[in-house]
Amino acid sequence: MARTLINVPPKAKRGQVIEIKTLISHVMETGYRRNEVGAMVPRDIINTFVCTYNGEEVFRTGLHPAIAANPFISFFAVATESGKFEFKWTDDQGNVETASAAITVE
């Protein structure tokens, strides 16, 4: 569906607060635009984004057409143990894009 870019620090100290940044390429078509021949372009946006850390939820958002194209989302997690961050985006057509990043906690 789309290209993604994830920024998770590869290493962190236990208990450290880390910032996670995510970016995905998507048109985020609002459904309010018309094409060259005047027909409405149907809405097609990423409506849900979920981030989990070793299976437990960190951050989840519902997105609306007011989110800019190529949605960028950043948020914070506590590094508690080594493991994997998993990211999942779902769009209006039901396409699912996933990504993951590993972290080592010392």
Partner: protein
């Protein structure tokens, strides 16, 4: 032609046109853009949080006060909260007044969230007021609002 209906005469059409011209504002109302209004935003807020009282404070909605391009506007929301298991922010909703739809984003903080803060990039169709409302784990609601001036609006070329 049947007798059941009459086509308007030229005189009637001219009289109608001048009457509409005299009223002036009436034809303009018909071509208004489909934008959310402050009332729509209030309705959207009510549909999300219900009738609960919303207090000012704790929430900081950070967005540039003067926006040159409404197609991508960096926005971040921070809520004062220790984010412990018992005292935490459950969800933050952001609303706008004048985009076609009043909702912007609903951010839910899971058990692993370290801070009640996030940032993203949004679209703004007009100079308007944005509202962020945070729901705490104790059921209280806190909010912040901010006025934004937009010089180049998102979506303008389509209206």
């Amino acid at each position: 032609m049947t007798k059941n209906y009459r086509l308007p005469t030229r005189r009637a059409v001219l009289a109608g046109a001048s009457a509409a011209g005299a009223l002036g504002a009436v034809p303009l109302l018909l071509v208004r853009r489909a934008l959310a209004t402050p009332e729509k935003m209030q309705a959207a807020i009510k549909s999300v949080i219900g009738e609960a009282p919303v207090k000012k404070g704790k929430v900081t909605l950070d967005i540039p006060p003067l926006v040159e391009n409404g197609n991508t506007v960096a926005m971040s929301v921070t809520v004062e909260s220790p984010m412990t298991a018992t005292d935490r922010v459950k969800v933050v909703h952001v609303f706008n007044e004048k985009n076609p739809q009043p909702n912007v984003i609903d951010a839910h903080f899971g058990p692993r969230a370290a801070r009640a803060a996030f940032s993203t990039r949004i679209r703004l169709a007009d100079t308007q007021t944005l509202v962020a409302i945070a729901e705490m784990s104790d059921g209280s609601f806190w909010s912040d609002s901010i006025d934004v001036i937009v010089t180049l609006a998102a979506c303008l070329e389509y209206n």
